[in-house]
Assembly symmetry: C2
Homo-oligomer: 300 residues x 2
């Protein structure tokens, strides 16, 4: 008899596929599970709502000795990054924390200081949440809503063969601390969504090696990556750039005829943020570049 399959034998993407089939979905759901955020609203509305939930767990996403202010900042900024990656503006956050009863009140206050700083910087209202006891590690969950103009909403699934792939910033090195202090690319994503209309976009949370195949798959494409072009953070290897994860940079695809109208305006708007052409989407029949690296898998 085969042993019963456990999450560790399957990997995150297989688990997600198993649970997201046949979910109940009303007629106002534009995009359900599988993109950076859910998108809801009437088909022809001027604005749609974006919904995101994101968890951080002590020992997985942060360490018990991490300064709580940085944990709070990161927790909200991770969710903001997902709203941004759809071309949206973040609006309302709900905060769930489950903590050991031994936790000092000061930890909670400083954690909230970090949350509030991130909220103020990005115009987010913190409208509630819930506190509970955890008999184990600390759990944090952020629920965040956002809004996006229908015509500027960018999904993962809109890419076409021939579209050019770009990433913002540099990749790798998050483990040295960058993952706690990053600023989500909200302005950059809104610039892209309103001026250039990428065909597909997502934020890089699990590393290019895990996330690019997801974008390509959602778009029904294969992909080619020019390894020499991957923008590596200083002192990072290619391997790290591909697989460290938590870069929170933007990965997007645009039609090749739009590349020219992207580059000069980008440099004027964001002179300090590198924008790098790393490859292109291919027909699904073509073979994808083999990324000799794996992004982060929660269950592997």
């Amino acid at each position: 008899m085969n042993p019963e399959p456990r999450l560790e034998n399957l990997g995150e993407d297989a688990v997600v596929s198993a649970i997201t089939c046949k979910l109940p979905k009303g007629p106002d759901v534009r995009v359900g599970a599988g993109d950076d955020c859910a998108v809801v609203g009437p088909k022809d509305a001027r604005h749609w709502s974006l919904l995101k939930t994101d968890a951080m767990i002590e020992g997985v996403h942060f360490l018990s000795e991490t300064e709580p202010r940085r944990v709070g900042w990161k927790a909200l900024c991770r969710a903001i990054s997902d709203i941004a990656a759809m071309g949206g503006t973040p609006q309302h956050a709900l905060i769930t924390i489950a903590l050991s009863p031994k936790t000092p009140l000061r930890w909670v206050e400083e954690f909230y200081d970090g949350l509030k700083a991130a909220a103020k910087q990005h115009g987010v209202s913190i409208v509630g949440g819930e506190t509970s006891r955890s008999p184990g590690p600390a759990f944090i969950n952020i629920s965040l809503t956002g809004t996006v103009r229908r015509k500027e909403c960018v999904l993962r699934s809109g890419g076409s063969p021939g579209d050019i792939l770009f990433v913002t910033g540099t990749l790798g090195g998050s483990l040295s601390g960058r993952h706690l202090d990053f600023t989500p690319r909200v302005a950059e994503a809104q610039f892209l969504a309103s001026k250039v209309r990428p065909s597909a976009m997502m934020d890089l949370s699990d590393g290019l090696a895990a996330d690019l195949p997801r974008l390509a798959r959602a778009s029904g494409c294969s992909f080619h990556v020019d390894m020499a072009q991957i923008p590596k953070t200083a002192d990072c290897t290619l391997q790290q750039a591909l697989s460290d994860g938590e870069d929170f940079e933007l990965l997007f695809a645009i039609s090749s005829r739009k590349v020219r109208q992207l580059l000069a305006p980008w440099r004027r708007a964001f002179p300090k943020v590198p924008l790098t052409r790393i490859g292109k989407l291919l027909f699904i029949q073509e073979s994808s570049t083999v990324l000799h690296a794996h992004g982060y898998d929660h269950f592997a």
Copy 2:
């Protein structure tokens, strides 16, 4: 030197007060932290949005041996109960689960079966979520949106001295299993919100002894309770009825002149659901009934 205060020394309400002061809040926030749900939307809109987040933790809200289908059902129904308690209709749910990599896939599938059953019964769309690894107990978080007609939105804070207090159903005994299989009072709450307009309403999740003082405090009132009137579940003591928690019944206040227009229509609409007058709200200067029992406190 005093020892540094820890959550266990403070209790849940004090912790919540400490963290919810001075939260960033935009002009579209009608109700922030402190009610069953957050309420957002333009001041004079016909409908407002409701936002709720709710966590369940293995070893706190359910046991590892509990059937996963019942865990899923309860997880979503808890949040639906909060949307209902504002007079609202639940809409879109996001599901976060953090599980040990050793968890059998079957557990996750059955948990989702319970979620889907609750979602279908209440017209909720499951629009996404996130899966993660937990190095400790299983952690579940449900984020749920809803909608409410502005004129039917019932807060905890609208009660006035003299208003009569009612509860639906019977209280106590949740620990014998009822807490896993309850049906949230959505139809009953919508009936109340549209036909009777309670001045204040909430769902009973931590027990009447913890929750009634919260409703009274939010309304700036004291309260009187006639202990003999508390509707006890069969085989429950008064103590259990006051403090078991997880009843998920409705507690509401209505102006005394509306009592007559409540009772007969209620019996016609919900012949099987008891509705019990348990007391009234008082001026804040008067002293509240002492509830010789404590509801559930997460950090005590």
